[in-house]
Amino acid sequence: MLAKRIIPCLDVKDGRVVKGIQFEALQEAGDPVELAKFYNREGADELVFLDISASSEGRETMVDVVRRVAEQLSIPFTVGGGIKTLDDIKRMLRAGADKVSLNSSAVLNPRLIEEGAAYFGSQCIVVAIDAKYHPATESYHVYTHGGKQLTELDAIEWAQKAVTCGAGEILLTSMDKDGEKSGFHRELTRAVNDAVSVPVIASGGAGKAKDFYDVFTDAHADAALAASIFHFKETSISHVKDYLKAKGVVVR
């Protein structure tokens, strides 16, 4: 039986992991390769690196980070952030990433999903969706540009379209829940999961082990992503997995 995946997400800027990570054990806390190895040992099933560099130099550095991580890591990893063209996808995959995550660029140009999937296969094209509830329309709207720009797109319809274009996975972030640490958005996750035939990674809102249990059992997410609760050692991947195992959820 397929195991539910736990995925830590690391923000990388100009080749360094940022957003503060509290690991005394690591000599160089900001080194993506060292952190990747740490999470690998902790039992992460996969890693996501989000490039938040603003400059083209920073983006160049990311290719080097990907190459160094690929040399050291024997679990799958995804790279997202600033991937705008088929050439960008090619560069990341050739540097050793297993998947790329497309967000704003996929909304602006859905053909990028088609081209990426046709060229490299759906399995390496993840479409990331940032969604927020709008009471006026009683629906979830898609935001782009790091949650700054509202679009007309309905999150569930966009997820379906992305999969039709060739997305192999959906990384779904609830902007309502993000940073709240009150649990994943189960209703949104369930709705997207029911609408698509590919794996859904729930993101936004993880605060404790039970939140993972709830999103796996109640919303049927295939994987769950978290950043700060792991980085700040509020919980650990091994603790979350022990909790899930004890409750009968299949994890690696």
């Binding site: 995946r5 099933d45 690929a70 024997s74 799958p76 995959l93 296969g121 590919v198 794996p199 295939d222």
Partner: protein
């Protein structure tokens, strides 16, 4: 030395990194004379079966691989494993290398109870060992491995099954006959257990383990 066949379809990078970490000498080549110098061949593969067979045929690799498999170990990974079989239904029935008996078919996406399930089979799944005595499984205990595939092998020859994984059907996960092996999952992406399986193959090729 291990030869990795470069036929234009593989994600060679991750296999190379894994061998580097295992300190196994290797070459990546499409040249038969070079590859004949190796002790064992890895056939990687990401993509579609038909495209892969077109590439293998175009560059004259089919006869070479069949000849190589008569005397030395071979390991197909993911699509590379599927290519070892008789034929695949992907994009129309296409003949494979016929080194192992079976047909590659698509997950239907709905089980016997008519419940739908997701295709591809993607993520970590548990390996059930059918032949723990296989040289590929030496020193290992049952663990999880990382799978990404929409097609799987259906075979009437149960003796091929070294390990399986359950995903609505019994998915052949490690297969082998003589010294021709295949893994449907990516051993290079399956953590320490995956690396151990790769290492076992390399040891077998280099004469460290007898069949």
């Amino acid at each position: 030395m291990i030869g990795i066949l470069d036929y234009g379809m593989g994600n060679l990078h991750s296999v190379c990194s894994a061998l580097k970490r295992l300190h196994v000498p290797y070459i990546v080549s499409s040249n038969h004379d070079e590859l004949r110098q190796s002790n064992g061949i890895i056939l990687p593969g990401v993509g579609a079966f038909r495209d892969a067979m077109v590439c293998l045929k175009r560059d004259g690799h089919i006869a070479f691989l069949r000849e190589y498999a008569e005397s030395k170990p071979m390991l197909g990974i993911c699509l590379g494993m599927q290519l070892l079989f008789d034929e695949s239904e992907e994009n129309g029935l296409t003949p494979g290398l016929s080194l192992l008996k079976g047909r590659v078919i698509r997950f239907t996406g709905s089980d016997v109870m008519r419940e739908t399930y997701k295709v591809p089979h993607m993520g970590w799944n548990h390996l059930d060992f059918k032949k723990p005595e296989s040289p590929l499984l030496q020193g290992l205990s049952e663990d999880y491995a990382y799978f990404v595939h929409s097609y799987y092998v259906m075979t009437s020859d149960e003796s091929l099954l070294i390990a399986t994984a359950g995903y609505h059907v019994e998915v052949p996960a490690i297969v082998g006959k003589g010294h021709v092996f295949g893994t449907q999952f990516h051993p290079e992406k399956s953590g320490p257990s995956g690396l151990a399986i790769l290492k076992n193959f390399c040891s077998l090729a280099q004469g460290g383990v007898r069949t």
